[in-house]
């Protein structure tokens, strides 16, 4: 078999199967020339992670196997290799979803990356300092336990750790997932520097087609386990189909996310929403946050924040990573008890609340890192959301009393409604742990919807999705707000989404509120621009 010595990696016609029955990749071929950056693009479930894992040989840990085709790294076949040996050969994968060693400190995490190298103490310190010059943020946090750092910091730790292994080839799985635009730019700059200064070849799987094509030399677009399109980054950026589907640009300008709702209605030919008016007019404050302060040991997560949420509105909370957005939701939700301040729900003070109580009161949420029952099916997960409205106890259900039977039927029906609303019928019996990240997010939304809450707290519902999928998710969020009148509080990083669909925005930075108002007002606020939108957004 001829192998081009200019390529560091050659993947030829591979087929990958999980658990001996699930066909994940049909016929994927790609090459990575030495010293280049190649991007693997595509929607959730397309097969990007699977491709990376077959190359780094991490498939076995998920009971996957390459059943056809060959993979050559540096001219040698990698069949029969194991991950730790691949690292010795210079290939390191940064896994999807951060995966830091939570109990180790930031510095210990990074040092662990050098495990496979035999370094003297002096050399180790030197390498560590070099890494810190790339990741200055991490230097400040070097003694903290990794599990307590913010999402963005954890992503940086994962990349820094991989770099300590001194790879000749780096496989990056969704490095931008869940990160603010500023941080994404920061991370990609570092990646580019690595490529140029250290000559590391890079294969990167990315949802954010925009930033990936800006930084890569070549790209492959995957769809349901096959390569649909390939080309140089420039040619892909100019390709009409790519522009429409993945970059969200149609006829030269970006489509407004709110328009999707009206397109949908027009398709259905309904009389509702023929004008751009609201079914549920925005009312008075339903939730008020007053002078909230929260700290963990020495870390001040939130300092004296006040804002309110009006009934039936879509309120966005934005800010850089670590600004305190998730912590704020956790306070409203009852997971954290703020040391100072009060929260008023429907005029009454929320005191000594816990998540259980809060959800009964009508506030439900989804989580940034997902909190699904991985071994249960999609339907079962959503059914759990119905528990709040189930009045029969287990005796009644056990003996199949008429009330219990009726409730079960009702629950099943409501859940089927939600499942078809979210268009996930074909996966309703699948074990949630087996689904790609984006679909898991949808299931979480479904479970929150099942509680028929008055307020939905959504923590980065669109992390890990490409433009097409975001449009889809926006459609559902808007529908929920529009048809059910549910008040929505949304943490999101995609500025396009935030500016298009929210009614009002509150901006956090370093635990303080630096802006509060309609999207236009916030967009023009200089403090916000400096802190957050500094990177020109397109």
């Amino acid at each position: 078999m001829s192998v081009d010595s200019n390529n560091i990696l050659e993947v030829k016609n591979i087929e990958v199967v999980y658990d001996n029955v699930i066909l994940a990749l049909h016929d994927v071929s790609l090459t990575v020339p030495k010293g280049k950056i190649v991007a693997l693009l595509g929607a959730n479930g397309a097969g990007k992670s699977t491709t990376l894992k077959s190359i780094s040989t991490m498939l076995a840990s998920e009971r996957g196997k390459v059943t056809k085709g060959t993979i050559n790294y540096n001219g040698n076949n990698i069949e029969g290799e194991i991950p730790s040996r691949m690292v010795h050969r210079g290939m390191v994968q940064v896994l999807e979803g951060r995966r830091c060693f939570g109990h180790l400190t930031v510095e210990e995490n990074i040092i662990a990356g050098a495990y496979s190298r035999q370094l003297s103490k002096g050399d180790l310190s030197a390498e560590l300092e070099k890494i810190y010059t790339y990741f200055t943020r991490l230097k400040d946090r070097r003694g903290s336990q990794a599990g307590f750092t913010s999402g963005g910091e954890q992503q940086m730790i994962a990349v820094a750790r991989a770099m300590m292994a001194k790879p000749t080839m780096l496989l990056l799985d969704e490095p931008s997932m869940g990160l603010a635009p500023q941080l994404v730019a920061e991370i990609f700059n570092i990646v580019k520097e690595l490529n140029q200064k250290e000559g590391v070849s890079i294969l990167l799987a990315e949802q954010n087609t925009n930033i990936a094509l800006k930084n890569a030399d070549y790209g492959y677009i995957l769809e349901t386990g096959r390569v649909m399109l390939e080309g140089s980054a420039q040619s892909l950026s100019n390709d009409e189909k790519v522009k429409e589907l993945y970059l969200g640009i149609s006829k030269g300008e970006r489509k407004n996310f709110r328009d999707v709702l009206y397109d949908d209605e027009k398709k259905k030919n309904t009389t509702a929403l023929t004008t751009k008016g609201r079914k549920f007019e925005i009312g008075g404050p339903i939730l008020e946050v007053k002078n909230i302060s929260l700290h963990f040991g020495g870390v001040k997560a939130i300092t004296n924040i006040s804002f309110n949420i009006l009934k039936h509105e879509i309120r966005a909370i934005i800010g850089p990573n670590g600004a305190g957005k998730s912590s704020m939701l956790n306070c409203i939700n009852g997971i954290y008890q703020p040391q100072e301040g009060t929260i008023l729900y429907k005029g009454a003070v929320l005191d000594q609340i816990n998540p259980n109580l809060i959800s009964r009161m009508g506030i439900s949420r989804t989580f940034q890192n997902l909190a699904l029952f991985k071994r249960m099916s999609v339907l079962d997960n959503i059914l759990v959301g119905r528990k709040l409205h189930t009045k029969s106890n287990f005796m009644q259900v056990g003996f199949q009393f008429p009330q219990a039977v009726r409730e079960e039927k009702e629950n099943k029906e409501k859940c089927e409604e939600i499942i078809s609303f979210l268009e996930i019928e074909d996966i309703k019996n699948t074990q949630v742990g087996k689904l790609p990240y984006g679909l898991q997010k949808k299931v979480e939304l479904g479970r929150a919807l099942a509680t028929q809450a008055e307020i939905l707290l959504l923590d980065e519902p669109m992390a890990g999705m490409n433009v097409e999928e975001k449009r889809d998710m926006c459609r559902f969020i808007l529908k929920v707000n529009d048809e059910l009148g549910t008040t929505i509080v949304l943490i999101e990083h995609d500025m396009g989404v935030v500016m298009d669909i929210s009614d009002r925005v509150v901006v956090l930075d370093y635990g303080k509120s630096i802006g509060d108002g309609t999207p236009d007002v916030v967009r023009a606020n200089q403090k916000v621009i400096d802190a957050y939108l500094g990177v020109a957004h397109d």
Partner: protein
């Protein structure tokens, strides 16, 4: 009054020291739990197998120290075999599967021990008498067993050694990384196989030492296997993944066991030594499940 106080001191000290004997057993569990988040049901059998082999070798006329070293090698071999035949094939299965495998491993070791060395109870003479140290008895009027003191010293030395190993060595870092996220650890080149082999061998050596102490006290017999059950309250209170926790937990259990037996036992008709530790453990499970020193489960919500 003085004699009352002296008596209490005696009971307390005896309890504390016998507690360190429990710690020795618990230590084996902690090692394996730290590295693979699995409760090793075979630990009791490992204690039995190790000390039985040691005594058996001595019966062949092999001197004490040589037999000790040989048994260490034997336990390393057991670790190797466990890694190759049990852990590796089951590497990607669920934690429950691994748990069941350790139960099976326990049965195999028990059977093997009896098949090779026979079923009679044996005496183990460590040269340390399980009786009060003369000059302490004479000068402080406390009756403290020499064996207990030795066990205490040995346990302390092992705990200090292992804690230092985990915290300051490269291999300790590797172990802690694997414990947090085995997948991420292997993605940066940490060799899972080596780590597992090391941990299981270390647990085997710890089992040997624990077995020797208990064997000297109670004779080398089948009942040693049930010692493992006594380690459970120690682990719950000290924390499954904490090495210092194993000794603190052991001290607490040992002390409370003896004190409760002597002072409250009579009201219950005696014999509360057997179950008092478990009641204590239940309290901990209800109010502080990670134990005194176990790792709080860190999850970003």
């Amino acid at each position: 009054m003085i004699s009352e106080l002296l008596f209490f001191m005696e009971v307390l000290v005896a309890g504390l020291l016998s507690g360190t004997m429990y710690s020795l057993v618990a230590l084996g569990f902690v090692l394996i739990y730290k590295a693979s988040s699995t409760f090793n049901f075979a630990q009791g059998a490992m204690v039995f197998f190790a000390v039985l082999s040691f005594v058996g070798l001595m019966e062949f006329g092999i001197p004490f120290s040589v037999a000790f070293v040989l048994t260490i090698f034997l336990m390393i071999a057991v670790g190797l075999a466990t890694e190759r035949l049990v852990l590796r094939p089951l590497m990607n299965q669920s934690e429950d599967t691994l748990l069941m495998a350790t139960i099976g491993l326990g049965f195999v070791l028990e059977g093997l021990a009896q098949a090779v060395w026979g079923v009679e109870v044996r005496r183990l003479d460590l040269g340390i008498k399980d009786s009060p140290i003369p000059w302490i008895a004479d000068n402080l009027q406390l009756f403290i067993s020499a064996l207990d003191v030795t066990a205490g010293l040995v346990a302390t030395a092992m705990i200090i050694g292992l804690t230092l190993l985990f915290k300051y060595t490269k291999i300790g870092l590797g172990l802690r990384s694997v414990a947090d996220d085995a997948g991420a650890a292997s993605s940066i080149g940490i060799p899972l196989k080596h780590i597992m082999l090391l941990v299981w061998s270390a647990a085997g050596v710890v089992a040997l030492v624990a077995g020797m102490m208990w064997g000297a006290r109670a004779g080398v017999q089948f009942a040693l296997i049930d010692l493992a059950l006594k380690a459970l309250p120690v682990l719950i209170i000290g924390g499954f993944s904490s090495i210092p926790g194993a000794i603190i937990g052991g001290l607490l259990i040992g002390a409370s066991e003896k004190i409760l037996e002597v002072y409250i036992g009579p009201y219950f008709g005696g014999g509360i030594e057997g179950w008092a530790p478990y009641v204590l453990a239940i309290f901990f499970l209800l109010y502080r499940p990670e134990g005194l020193f176990g790792e709080k489960i860190i999850r970003r919500v």
